[in-house]
């Protein structure tokens, strides 16, 4: 029994047969099929289960608005939950499984919910499950969660890649139906840069689904010709399988191109999907319309679908959903479906038309003024019950039912920027309102013009206007002949007195639920939606919102536009999270920055650590070292004993030049810089305008009008931005030029008593590095290794005699090798960020943990640095009382009373004997380490009244990590407090 429902003709390639499996069973279809069309061809109508009541469901539509026929597509890591069978292109080997059912689609134990549905009315859960309170997390919620949800994820990383891109155009045409094609042709011929995007894999829109002729040929043939013409234009980009997701500000559109979803797996190196950001000067929305159902008793059985979808299946895919089909309609479109079915030789059981004055059909029965009062068939439609105009009841046997309640223009994108649609009584539907996104026009069915003729003409008119705006001209178009039938429709939303008539099929919201919402005063559209979940399903309300609104209007005694409409929000159709992330995932989430000595450090077996984007050497393990502390202790001790080398390139460097450079720095730093002599470096503290410390570093004066400023690694970008703000916005007449040079120079700290001796071996003889010739805080431009330009700064973060030497980055690798070689006789060690941290804590230097955005110069023990004699950023607001309290937090050091105890960062401080709670909090430890020099853990941190409490024993508590012991308040300068070493 293969493809028993396949008809003649259609836009499928019968020369090839594709095999696929659904719920383990093998089927066949053809290229051009969707999963839904192929299953229908094989007489499979049951494809899913609904969300709440687990009702059996089949496809309701033939497009992306599908609420019912959603499946788990593919298996393994590529399993894709909630995939619309109606848009999934068939490929050979496709595997799909039904979802939200157990144990099988045909027998779903959760179907019991359907029998219990009276208890599960809208919002029932807000009224119960409250007792006892503890049971919610333990019992009720797990139960609800297991039952809820639709498809499942594989729990394996998505193996496919996603790409991103950026496109520019004069005109973005959204939708490749007649209106879109006509517009694209016209604009393309006029020379505009055009992008034509359509979600379908074959452009043409309804031309592919209808039997209307265009210019004397089949509509789909005309569409194919138009697409071919467009493809030949170099200024036009035709993008099938591309959904415009959202209309964002200033002509920016998001688009998803499904590059590989029609393949079993993407080609090597190719992405699964691409998220395009399209920058358009104009956009034309020609996204067509979506048919809407009518709500009636048991209107959700597999085999009941929209009448237009029946035509799509019949005409495009040459598939009939059953051999005997009935139609339920309030408009002429339904009759068209019957005609098309008859043309293809399918039996039409009857056309039930709600209109007493419905037109005559062809060779099928029309039941005028009739309504469907019930349907039968547990897993698929077997028949309908009809109440005729005279009140009689008829039972009609059928395997499928096409329903048409009219069409809703696809206005979603017109509303993405806050615009509201307007009600059009003629077609009883919302059409685009007066406030469209800037530079968007709408044509064709999306604008409520439902004929092919109208689509061509409104498209051509929009094209003229857009071309005028672009300053382009094109000859008046010769529009093809096309059908131009009027829309004959009498609004009819639901059959009254139904016990259960589905409005939102996926979420199982019935007409009664809408009425109950009204009864409970959830009348506003947003309340209705949120209370009943109407329109919150994966179809985003495309098939349900209108009926819900209409029923609410009816019970509230208002018109539909008075009740309102809900907002349409992006994305137009649900879109893979992976696509929005693009290439920036896993290890490629953010770029990596490597230091100039990275290759060398790798050779040395360094352990690396992420510091922002940077990868830095954390420590350099030596053979035999089994614990990181061994390595770090060794690096610290050896540096303090002899000499160590550390790559400090990551510190930000900003080149500041200009006649006013010194004055500029005087404004930037709270301490004075105007009088810094050439050849000297000074420590500087920058405040934010609110008086809080922003960053610290050094500024070296290389010339009268030339400084090099360093920043912390973390704040390099922010400080540069801030300096540009001060330069451009606050003091625009200062002669100052700024540029970052962070990456231009490889910079190494050479620290320790033997630092000078080591440097002497690499610095060229022309330069004096003696203590007298190059004292503490000196700086100079020098040469090294026989002529390489370099910069030398005598600054120290470790507290030792130390220098920082900078060479052009390309020589950084060679430089560290040279330094290590020169240091061999001193047993030089490379040290990483851990040892760097230990030594700066031993010296009591503030770093990121102390400059945490809430601390002032006063807190940092640098209150006196804030010059009162000049204007600098932050100096005024730093004077506020709250920042200058007598017992303000001050940076001090801590040593454990019991030397074996740790002093962990993040611990809080309590006065001895006081209560341990927030009210008695005295401060906190910011940075801590084991000091191999002191032989115990030490910490620095902020303590109320700070130094005044030196010698006091206080209580260090970290209830989070189970720590509570005593520490002594000491100076933060644990090592060489007088600074003799760094001046040596």
């Amino acid at each position: 029994m293969t493809q028993t429902n396949r008809l003649q003709g259609g836009m499928i390639d019968r020369s090839r047969t594709l095999s696929f499996r659904f719920d383990g069973k093998a089927f066949q279809g053809h290229p051009g099929d969707t999963l839904a069309s192929a299953l229908l061809a094989n007489d499979v109508r049951l494809m899913g289960r609904s969300f709440k009541y687990h009702r059996p469901r089949g496809p309701m539509t033939a497009g992306s608005e599908e609420p019912n026929a959603i499946v788990e597509l593919r298996t393994g890591a590529r399993q894709e939950p909630n995939t619309r069978a109606t848009t999934a292109e068939l490929f050979d080997g496709l595997v799909a499984n039904s979802q939200n059912r157990w144990p099988s689609l045909r027998f779903d134990a959760m179907g019991v919910n359907d029998w219990l549905s009276p208890f599960f009315a809208a919002g029932f859960y807000y009224k119960t499950f409250m007792w006892p309170a503890k049971f919610w997390e333990k019992l009720y919620e797990p139960m609800i969660r297991r039952a809820a949800g639709l498809g499942s994820v594989s729990f394996e990383p998505d193996p496919d890649s996603y790409d991103k891109g950026f496109l520019y155009c004069d005109l973005l045409v959204i939708g490749g139906g007649p209106a879109g094609l006509a517009t694209a042709l016209r604009a393309g011929e006029a020379g505009a840069r055009v992008i034509l995007a359509d979600e379908d894999f074959t452009l043409g829109g309804r031309l592919n689904a209808e039997t209307h002729e265009v210019a004397g040929m089949a509509g789909h043939a005309w569409a194919a010709q138009a697409v071919a013409r467009l493809a030949d234009m170099p200024n036009v980009r035709v993008m099938p399988r591309t959904t415009i997701l959202g209309a964002f500000d200033h002509g920016t559109y998001g688009a998803l191109e499904r590059v590989s979803d029609h393949l079993a797996v993407p080609e090597k190196g190719k992405p699964r999907q691409i998220l395009w950001r399209i920058y358009s000067k104009h956009a034309l929305l020609a996204a067509g319309a979506t048919e809407r159902p009518i709500a009636f008793e048991n209107n959700d059985r597999p085999g009941i679908m929209l009448a237009g979808a029946v035509r799509s299946y019949v005409n495009r895919w040459a598939v009939t959903p059953a051999q005997n089909v009935a139609i339920f309609t309030n408009n002429d479109d339904g009759h068209r479906t019957a005609t098309d079915l008859r043309t293809r030789g399918v039996n039409v059981a009857a056309v039930i038309d709600t209109r007493p004055d419905a037109p005559d059909g062809g060779d099928f029965e029309v039941i005028r003024g009739g309504v469907i009062t019930n349907t039968s068939g547990r897993l698929g439609l077997t028949g309908i019950e009809v109440r005729t105009a005279d009140g009689g009841q008829r039972k009609i046997s059928c395997g499928a039912l096409g329903v048409s309640g009219g069409w809703n223009p696809n206005v979603a994108l017109t509303c993405h920027q806050g615009g509201r649609p307007a009600w059009n009584t003629d077609i009883a539907a919302f059409v685009p309102g007066s406030t469209l996104p800037p530079n968007m026009s709408v044509a064709g069915a999306a604008n409520g013009v439902f004929t092919t003729h109208g689509a061509f003409h409104t498209g051509a008119k929009a094209a003229s206007q857009i071309l005028d705006h672009l300053g382009l001209s094109a000859p008046a178009p010769d529009l093809p002949e096309a059908e131009d039938g009027p829309v004959n429709l009498t609004p009819f939303w639901h059959v009254k007195d139904a016990k259960r008539a589905w409005v939102d099929q996926q979420n199982d919201v019935t007409a009664k639920d809408v009425k109950l919402a009204h009864q409970e005063n959830f009348v506003s559209v947003e309340h209705l939606k949120r209370y009943t979940t109407l329109g919150m399903a994966t179809d985003q309300g495309k098939t349900s919102n209108m009926a819900g609104l209409a029923i609410m209007a009816e019970v509230a005694g208002k018109s539909i536009p008075e009740v309102g409409t809900t907002m349409f929000r992006p994305p137009y159709t649900p879109t893979a999270i992976g696509a929005f992330a693009g290439r920036s995932r896993d290890k490629d989430f953010r770029p990596v920055r490597k230091t100039p000595s990275h290759v060398w450090a790798e050779e040395k077996g360094a352990v690396f650590v992420e510091v922002g984007m940077w990868l830095r050497a954390q420590w350099f393990p030596q053979p035999g070292e089994t614990h990181w502390r061994e390595s770090v202790d060794r690096e610290v001790l050896q540096t303090r004993k002899s000499v160590g080398i550390c790559d400090v390139t990551t510190l930000g460097k900003i080149d500041v030049q200009g006649a006013d450079a010194a004055d500029f720095l005087n404004r930037i730093y709270c301490n004075g810089f105007a009088k810094l002599p050439v050849g000297k470096t000074r420590y500087g503290l920058m405040l934010r305008e609110d008086g809080i410390a922003m960053d610290d570093g050094t500024a070296a004066r290389l010339a009268d009008d030339h400084f090099v400023v360093t920043t912390t690694t973390a704040n390099a970008v922010g400080v540069y931005r801030h300096m540009e703000f001060v330069r451009q916005c606050l003091f625009p007449d200062m002669d100052v030029q700024l540029i970052s040079t962070t990456e231009a120079w490889a910079q190494f700290a050479v620290a320790g008593p033997n630092a000078r001796k080591l440097l002497r071996k690499v610095v060229d003889d022309d330069y004096d590095v003696s203590n007298e010739g190059f004292p503490f805080m000196a700086c100079a431009e020098i040469t090294v290794c026989g002529g390489l330009r370099a910069r030398l700064f005598r600054i120290s973060f470790s507290g030792e005699l130390a220098y920082e030497i900078a060479v052009p980055t390309r020589y950084g690798d060679a430089m560290i090798r040279k330094l290590m070689q020169a240091g061999e006789e001193f047993d030089v060690v490379p040290y990483g960020t851990e040892a760097l941290g230990v030594m700066r804590i031993e010296k009591g230097h503030a770093a990121g943990n102390e400059l945490n955005g809430t601390t002032t110069a006063l807190n940092l023990g640098m209150g006196r640095m804030v010059s009162k004699k000049k204007d600098s950023i932050g100096s005024t607001l730093s004077e506020r009382e709250g920042l200058n309290e007598d017992d303000a937090l001050k940076l001090v050091g801590f040593k454990p009373v019991d030397n074996s105890k740790p002093v962990p960062a993040g611990s809080h401080l309590m006065t001895k004997g006081s209560q341990v709670d927030a009210a008695h909090d005295q401060g906190y430890v910011t940075s801590a380490c084991y000091s191999p020099n002191l032989g115990c853990h030490i910490g620095i941190g902020f303590l109320k009244s700070g130094h005044a409490r030196t010698g006091e024993v206080i209580r260090l508590v970290s209830p989070l990590t189970g720590i509570d012991h005593e520490v002594e308040v000491v100076s933060a300068h644990f090592v060489d407090p007088e600074g003799e070493r760094l001046r040596a």
């Binding site: 451009q728 606050l730 003091f731």
Partner: protein, 95 residues
Amino acid sequence: MMIDHPTLGPRDAAEFVYMGCASLINRPDWQAEDALQQFIDYGYQRDNPSGAHRELWFHEGGDRSWLVVTRDTVTHAITQVELARDVARREGRSK
């Protein structure tokens, strides 16, 4: 969102870093009698209008210009873009 850069033409706002109200250009005089109060207002009080808003954007991913952009906070429509340096000079800032 697109910002029509006065030198470079329309550029994606993603290339820019936003700071806030352009009134931040008008930094008070530190020697004024009521300097502290002026700085408090400057630092903390905002018009925050719904409608036209003059605001500072930094073209960090571009030419490193600070711009003053006049943008409607309800519709996001941008009506004017100027180099902040020109605005600052016009508003009397110097050195």
